[in-house]
Amino acid sequence: MTTTSTSTDEVMDYDEAIARFDPVMGLEVHVELNTATKMFCGCATAFGAPPNSQVCPVCLGLPGALPVVNATAVESAIRIGLALHCEIAPWCRFARKNYFYPDMPKNFQTSQYDEPISFDGWLDVEVEDGAGGTEIFRVEIERAHMEEDTGKSLHIGGATGRIQGADYSLVDYNRAGIPLIEIVTKPIAGAGERAPEVARAYVSALRDLMRALDVSDVKMEQGSMRCDANVSLRVRAGDGPTSAAQLDVPLGTRTETKNVNSLRSVERAVRYEIARHAAVLAGGGSILQETRHWHEDTGVTTSGREKSDAEDYRYFPEPDLVPVAPSRERVEALRQTLPEPPAERRRRLQTDWGYSDLEMRDVVNAGALELIEQTVALGASAQAARKWWLGEPSRRANGAAQDLVAYAAQLGFAPADVAALEGMVVAGRLNDSMARQVLDGVLDGEGHPVQVADARGLELVQDDAALEAAVEQVIAANPDVADKIRGGKAQAAGALIGQVMKATKGQADAGKARELILAKLQ
């Protein structure tokens, strides 16, 4: 059989689906930790290394190898648990999750099962309230446990690169054993039509939190943060998604959609599954509990393997690893290292910078928060920093389908460049239009702002004699306009200023030109 990324599944119009059914989600997010070494061995974790060059007997599951837990990974796991308001287990152990895919050479994945290191937490996420403001939606966390990543398989042959239909698979174990934290929510009910938006906001908030904790590089496009989205529908009851009658309705059968590798995909995949479930249920069918694959290109899911029941994994305690028992003192010490929660930080910065809600949302959506913070720290005003970062650099990053931070980093375009550019404006060397030309030059790789301004000869005419000569020339050439100004019509000066700017090739300070014109004619 072959699988294609186009689906013949019927979907119901989303609004109709929501009118008839209540969606419930469960989100499982895997976060690869940014430790230097793997979870249970000293192999490197660098992304993009040649295949099978970061492996050893432990992560290859060779006989006699003995895993030993990475202390930094445990520390990161505890900090993540604390940041998610979880309880930290005083004692927990690892378990073997047995299965026979070649992505784990051991035939099991070392994970945690009945004793996760952290459990029972929550994360508040912000969704737009439809009236220009934001609203808080609390997502309950079931657990956040430690495990190891699997190897990467390339499927050769078959109709597509996907798993079914492949003739053989090529496996690279560099990723096998990289520390993962799996964060599992409790069923997320009560979101109603905004379920897809809540899913996206949750993953986005988690990503912000991981960044703030500095425990992962959370690059969804590289797979260091991955989301599996469980969706089920139940019939509508009561007078709204949060009504007691609705919450009493038993959950429907769920599907788990994998391969959801961007924030936008999280939202789209949940929305698609809601519409697909609704069509199946409304047609009198029943949902098969299964794994679905998300196809970014076509925006649909297709059936994957049927989901194993938990007992099929035959979990049992990992005999090669001893329990992890963090002391309360250690946990409290780690609690002291938690960063300011990202949402609070945003609110603080918005107040400090005097941004409107709309301005702040644009900044956050553009991923420019840190860049602006650093630019402001280098002396630029908050408004100027926002203006420059959200202008040409954001446009170019969008055009290259990159996030702003990655785009700027790749270009070597730093907050210091923006601060230098704005510095030249404030000092009166550049006007706004010249500064834009300088910015273009910097983004085109012509050098740092001052170098570009020098090389392009961009400098406001500071030489009063040159400016005065230009003003006199323009007055002499426009006696009618000059008469009007002499007669008290100061607003007529605009026409002369324009000509002065033209005469000086735009390098004059318009304000100064105006002063000079008025001084000579009044």
Binding site: G42, C43, P50, N52, C56, D167
Partner: protein, 98 residues
């Protein structure tokens, strides 16, 4: 006290990727019953007031610092692979049985 059925054994054999014919399945039901029966004796142990044991060793928090250690070269890692393509382990297509 065993409740192991022939279907249970067939399911376990499938999960463990062990091919058993009908005669072997019948024999295994009996043999596994005896083993489970023997292990089930631990249920008779008096455990009132005994804390659950997560691990038999009196050790916790055995960790190592997050420091790189040399591993295997790709050639060493792949030396036992039945087939290698593009410096990767080549394995038969999977998930055909699902």
């Amino acid at each position: 006290m065993s409740s192991l059925t022939r279907d249970d054994v067939a399911h376990l054999a499938m999960l463990a990727r062990i091919d058993l014919d009908d005669a072997e399945l019948d024999r295994m039901v009996g043999e596994l019953d005896v083993i489970l029966g023997a292990v089930a004796k631990v249920q008779q142990a008096p455990i009132d007031g005994v804390a659950p044991m997560s691990h038999p060793l009196p050790l916790t928090n055995v960790t190592r610092p997050d420091v790189l250690r040399a591993g295997l070269t790709p050639a060493e890692a792949l030396s036992g692979a039945p087939e290698v393509h593009e410096q990767r382990f080549s394995v038969p297509r999977i998930l055909t049985e699902d």
